[in-house]
């Protein structure tokens, strides 16, 4: 047991590090660009050098790299200050779906531009009435000659306002049972009749959008899979989503709360000396440590060419409520000062307050705590599904309200 690379991995890591050191965009190069422009510049550079989407087949602009190579690449890239990516969904979810279901010609047309960062893609699945019941979507597509006419509304679409293309699932047969009346398409986001509205969150940010479709035309040629096969295609997308969702990301963690506890006082002594603070911090440390070493075990599986288990979803189930509780605890340590949310006046420039307000979203986005627990219960432990009253019933006869 060790934390070291194999010889092959170490060589690869060195190669990555060397290239990164030489090619990170300078501040001069990035000057004047918005965050989309910066992301595109960096992606193009990686693409041109053969370092974009390294797990993809070479024919699609990738490098045929292994899963552990990807982990090493990610680790090394994250050590440098590179522009934030806007390609996560396109590369992580849309591209794998296209590769699995689109024609060779379509893939030749679209995938390289995805890899090079020329095109940004988004994913349009969620709908207001759906929520955790993703397949209960209602946005409909009706056949009109060689086209389909789309009407309805999608929600929670990250990056819709700057995306060139999107993948979407639509209801093409409302009389079929829920999962059977769906069809999957990709679409030009600049199509007439698409309107994007940002959703303001309680945290103040607006990372998601509502997307309205009014008589939007999409060619039948942009259908992926058969008519009525949309849910199966969507599963390809979703399987890849699960792999790409992390443990709740940055923000408040053991280190930041530990440091805070050395800055503020309880009983006129540093809070870190307070046994209650220590006990709470110890539990959170043990959780973070467990998540970290769980990750190491997954990486070991990758390194051995095995597939890590779906138990990775515990990262989100543990991480999101932990962020909320730690942020809440940090505000309490700050006492009345905890309420102040001002980059100039707040401790740590307001990070604890920002996390307090953002963490409810972490517990919901990408699957609520409750859905994550269901997933672990069913997919990991093999427990049976809850009773499904909508099974086998025509979608338009499934109850959607008390009336």
């Amino acid at each position: 047991m060790d934390f070291n690379d194999t010889a092959v991995e170490a060589t690869f890591r060195e190669e990555v590090r060397t290239w990164l050191s030489a090619n990170i965009p300078t501040s001069d190069e990035l000057k004047g660009l918005d965050y989309i422009g910066r992301a595109k510049l960096w992606q193009k550079r990686k693409y041109d050098a053969g370092w974009a989407c390294i797990r993809w087949p070479k024919e699609h602009g990738g490098r045929d790299a292994s899963a552990i190579d990807q982990v090493i690449w990610n680790q090394e890239e994250s050590n440098f200050d590179t522009p934030d990516s806007v390609f996560g969904i396109g590369h992580g979810m849309c591209a794998p779906t296209m590769m699995a279901w689109a024609t060779d010609e379509q893939n030749k047309n679209y995938i390289p531009k995805l890899a090079s960062g020329e095109d940004v893609w988004c994913q349009l699945f969620s709908e207001p009435a759906g929520g955790s019941d993703l397949a209960a979507l209602r946005t409909r597509a009706e056949k009109d000659g060689d086209d389909w006419i789309i009407n309805g509304q999608k929600i929670w679409t990250s990056g819709a306002h700057y995306s060139d293309y999107g993948v979407l699932v639509l209801r093409t047969d409302p009389t079929a049972p829920k999962h059977q009346g769906l069809t999957y398409f990709f679409i030009d986001m600049k199509s007439a009749g698409i309107e994007v509205k940002p959703i303001r969150q309680i945290s103040g940010g607006a990372n998601f959008n509502e997307v309205y479709f009014t008589d939007v035309r999409v060619s039948d040629a942009q259908r992926l899979g058969a008519v009525g096969q949309g849910w199966q295609v969507a599963l390809t997308t979703l399987m890849n989503e699960r792999a790409s969702i992390g443990g709740g990301g940055g923000g408040v963690n053991f280190d930041s709360v530990f440091d805070l506890a050395t800055r503020v006082n309880i009983d006129d002594a540093p809070a870190i000396k307070d046994k209650n603070v220590r006990a709470q911090l110890a539990t959170w440390y043990a959780q973070e440590s467990g998540l970290k070493f769980n990750g190491y075990r997954s990486m070991t599986a990758l390194s051995r060419g095995e597939i890590p288990g779906p138990e990775n979803s515990i990262g989100k189930l543990v991480g999101a409520p932990k962020q909320q509780d730690m942020a809440s605890f940090a505000l309490d340590l700050l006492e009345s000062g905890g309420a102040i949310w001002d980059p100039e006046l707040s401790d740590a420039a307001g990070m604890f307050q920002a996390t307090y307000m953002a963490s409810p979203g972490l517990r919901i986005a990408g699957g609520t705590d409750e859905i994550m627990a269901n997933i672990i219960a069913e997919r990991v432990l093999g427990l049976p599904q809850d009773i499904r009253v909508d099974k086998g019933i025509p979608f338009n006869e499934v109850p959607t309200s008390n009336s």
Binding site: D268, D332, E335, S336, Q353, I364
Partner: protein
């Protein structure tokens, strides 16, 4: 056993609910949160006209001379409505400080205005991040002027005067001062908090005119007594808010369908709401204890106040966060009202001492009681 509000008090509650339903809907909270008004001045005026600000002030100072039970009823209803007004600062803190420590002259000078709501008071204790103690105070005063920085001060930007806690070289190391806020020596800056539906400020006092309130060197003892009383009233506001969060969650869960049935039929949601209810109910029963203790000036007040506060903080955090969770993605949008109790719960939890601070106070009070 008569551990309930009286018929008259229940009538007051009904009246308060009716008034607030008309005058303090969630749209009102949203307007203040979203806009530039620091508080709803119109609501404040009406609340004062109803006499709520005058509730416990003796009649000789133009108050109503009612008990803390009536004030408890009003506090719970204001908490339920998440009212965006400086009621807690002016009534639970500033009024209480003057009642507790004020000279006859000071009472005559300040209480009538507080009773009428024409004067708004605030309470300036904290100076930075972390616990404030008599030893940590840096605000200093001489016989007539005061210098220091107080942050955050709830309603400090809209109040007419502040009760300021400053260091003292006598007694318990602190003294209280009354500082009128409309004077040259005072500069105030509105600050943003996690709950913009309630106004907060940074007060910078630069040799500002000040008058001693109560005895020099007994300030920290006054602070404890004021905070104990305020804790009960804050706790009532908190349990009022708890109910609002529970009702929002319940209503949404009953109407929202997933997989062909209301999410309220799923045990994960049912048990979550049951847990909210249980925590709220225990906190409310502790508030009854607090109300009894404050209204009878019982020896148990420090225990009752800490008990009510600890359970109210825990209940409101749980109720407000799980209300968002019950709403799923919609609960996280600005458009929905779930944010209000979530913000308010933490504001009230930090304004007058955190959960851990009051947990420790509770055990200290129990130790004292047992040693007696």
């Amino acid at each position: 056993m008569n551990f309930e509000f009286s018929e008259e008090q229940n009538m007051l509650r009904e009246q308060a609910q009716g008034f607030l339903a008309s005058n303090c809907s969630m749209a009102v909270v949203r307007r203040v949160l979203d806009g530039d008004e620091p508080y709803d001045a119109d609501l404040w005026k009406k609340v004062a006209e109803m006499g709520w600000t005058a509730t416990v002030i003796p009649e000789e100072y133009e108050g109503l001379g009612l008990s803390y039970l009536e004030l408890s009823v009003i506090a719970e209803e204001l908490g339920r409505a998440l009212a965006p007004i400086p009621f807690s600062s002016s009534v639970y803190l500033a009024t209480e400080a003057i009642l507790a420590a004020g000279s006859e002259e000071q009472k005559q000078a300040y209480l009538p205005g507080l009773a009428a709501g024409t004067s708004i008071g605030c309470f300036a204790l904290g100076e930075s991040s972390g616990q404030t103690s008599a030893a940590s105070l840096t605000t200093k005063a001489d016989s007539s002027s005061i210098t220091g920085v107080k942050i955050p001060v709830a309603d400090g930007d809209i109040a007419n005067f502040a009760i300021v806690v400053a260091t003292s070289d006598k007694g318990d190391g602190a003294s209280l001062y009354i500082v009128d806020l409309d004077q040259d020596g005072v500069s105030r800056e509105s600050i943003t908090t996690i709950d913009p539906s309630r106004s907060h400020a940074k007060l910078t006092l630069n040799a500002a005119g000040a008058q001693l309130l109560g005895n020099d060197g007994e300030g920290w003892s006054y602070v404890q007594s004021i905070l104990n009383r305020a804790a009960v009233l804050f706790a009532w506001e908190q349990v009022g808010g708890c109910d609002t969060a529970l009702n929002m969650a319940k209503e949404y869960a009953m109407g929202r369908f997933a997989f062909g049935r209301p999410i309220a039929t799923y045990q994960a949601i049912k048990h979550k709401l049951a847990n909210i209810y249980v925590k709220n109910t225990l906190a409310r029963s502790n508030c009854y204890y607090g109300a009894w203790a404050i209204s009878t000036d019982a020896d148990e007040l420090p225990i009752a106040a800490a008990t009510a506060r600890v359970s109210a903080i825990q209940a409101y955090y749980y109720a407000s966060k799980e209300n968002v969770q019950t709403h799923g993605g919609m609960g996280f949008t600005w458009e929905f009202d779930c944010q209000f109790p979530y913000r308010r719960s933490k504001l009230l939890a930090t304004n007058i001492g955190s959960e851990a601070t009051w947990q420790d106070k509770l055990i200290t009070a129990i130790e004292k009681q047992r040693a007696a």
